[in-house]
């Protein structure tokens, strides 16, 4: 070994690494035999979080305690977990109906669309374009800037929910298909669980610094076609 290699090796005890988390404690529960596991639904939690929210989630030990798989998009985290908190059925609140100009002023970017929507709703910095009757929409296209923080959206699916990694216009996306979906908003430091207005599948994808979310009762290919036509 050369002198330089010896000096590098000597740094080994001096370099400060972050404390190693107790990963064994977390994964050992998943590794234990569970005779009743088949009876418990495997559920999927989908967190659509802006950057700061992702940091808050990462800092929360509870948020990490039982996840089985984790996918990331810019500004979004999708977590497959075993158990979800009890979710009350309440009407999804996508925010206040605004004109396009006012909505764009609030969110700070030009809204993308699939044609003229029936309503534009804004909650925090997330805008949702609603197609169809607002109380029973056929399709909802939500969008937010992935680099800002104004709330936390978490979506959950029941047994059989599937997560596929996809590409939309060359950028990464996730297609979620399954049975039930929930949306969770983290506002003012507290989590509110809400059941979505649609029981459709969800496509999440990035376009530039935006995070887009399309929810509709469509299959993967149709969702991808719709996403490609968003202008």
């Amino acid at each position: 070994m050369s002198d330089l290699e010896l000096r590098l090796a000597a740094l080994r005890d001096d370099v400060v690494f972050p404390a190693t988390p107790d990963l064994a404690a977390r994964v050992v529960d998943l590794a234990s035999p569970r005779p009743s596991r088949r009876l418990r639904p495997l559920v999927v939690a989908v967190a659509v979080a802006v950057a700061l929210a992702a940091g808050l989630l990462a800092a929360s030990p509870g948020a990490r305690s039982a996840f089985l798989e984790l996918f990331r998009l810019k500004g979004a985290t999708v977590t497959r977990v075993e158990r979800l908190p009890q979710v009350d059925r309440v009407e999804l609140d996508l925010g206040s109906a605004l004109s396009r100009a006012e909505a764009e002023r609030r969110v700070g970017f030009r809204l993308l669309d699939l044609g003229e929507p029936d309503a534009i709703l804004v909650r925090g910095r997330m805008a949702s374009l609603v197609y169809g009757p607002p109380d029973r929409p056929r399709l909802v296209l939500s969008q937010l800037r992935a680099s800002v923080w104004d709330g936390f959206v978490k979506k959950a699916g029941g047994a059989g929910t599937r997560i596929d990694e996809v590409s939309v216009g060359g950028e990464r996306g996730l297609f979620l298909s399954g049975v039930e979906h929930y949306v969770m908003f983290l506002e003012n430091g507290s989590v509110r669980d809400e059941r979505t207005a649609l029981a459709g599948n969800v496509l999440l994808w990035n376009r530039g610094d935006l995070l887009l979310r399309l929810e509709a009762d469509v299959g993967r290919e149709e969702a991808l076609e719709l996403a490609e036509s968003v202008r």
Partner: protein, 185 residues
């Protein structure tokens, strides 16, 4: 009479048979190297933690595909490093490696004089700074080899390259590091 602790091979066999405690023991033995490998790749503690944890869960699922008698650590590091590389996102905050102050380590033999101690600390800091300033490929191969003391084979699987590539890349990285430090080969 106290029985001997199970060997790694025995733990792997038990874990394959569904013994969660055995898998936990395996994880405890390797979680530090798994986390640090992920950290050197992602240079972000939160991403490293996510990567290591997800990799461990995937490793548990994949245990049945693990070749009996093969060393466990390189196999695990392959999964961890893949996960860490997939999570390394452009634009994410990157941590900079720092050195422990000599006073933090009472076991360290004191330098002959305060002046020598200062010089030694400055030299170590300069070396780490130069290492950190290398291109990613070069920084990573040296960090894995010398800071984590991974073998060539383990470094190869962590980087997703052949063992020969580790050798040649290490040699080039050392050359660059010498140049950064203004030292002759």
């Amino acid at each position: 009479m106290v029985g001997r602790p199970p060997t790694e091979e025995e733990l792997v066999e038990r874990a394959r048979a569904g013994d969660g405690a055995a898998f936990g023991a395996l994880v405890r033995d390797h979680q530090e190297i798994a986390f640090r490998t992920a950290y050197l790749i992602t240079r972000n503690a939160a991403e490293a933690e996510d990567a290591a944890q997800t990799a461990l869960v995937k490793a548990h699922r994949a245990l049945r595909r693990f070749r009996r008698g093969a060393p466990f650590r390189p196999w695990l590091l392959t999964i961890v490093a893949n996960e860490a590389r997939n999570r390394r996102r452009a634009g994410a905050r990157r941590d900079v490696l720092t050195l422990r102050a000599a006073a933090d380590d009472p076991s360290r033999v004191a330098a002959p004089s305060p002046e020598d101690a200062v010089v030694a600390a400055e030299e170590r800091a300069a070396l780490l700074g130069a290492l950190d300033g290398l291109a990613d490929d070069h920084r990573l191969v040296l960090a894995l080899r010398y800071l984590l003391d991974l073998s060539e084979e383990e470094t190869a699987v962590a980087l997703g390259v052949r063992r020969g590539t580790v050798k040649s890349r290490t040699a080039r990285a050392l050359e660059r590091l010498r140049a950064q430090l203004g030292e002759a080969a």
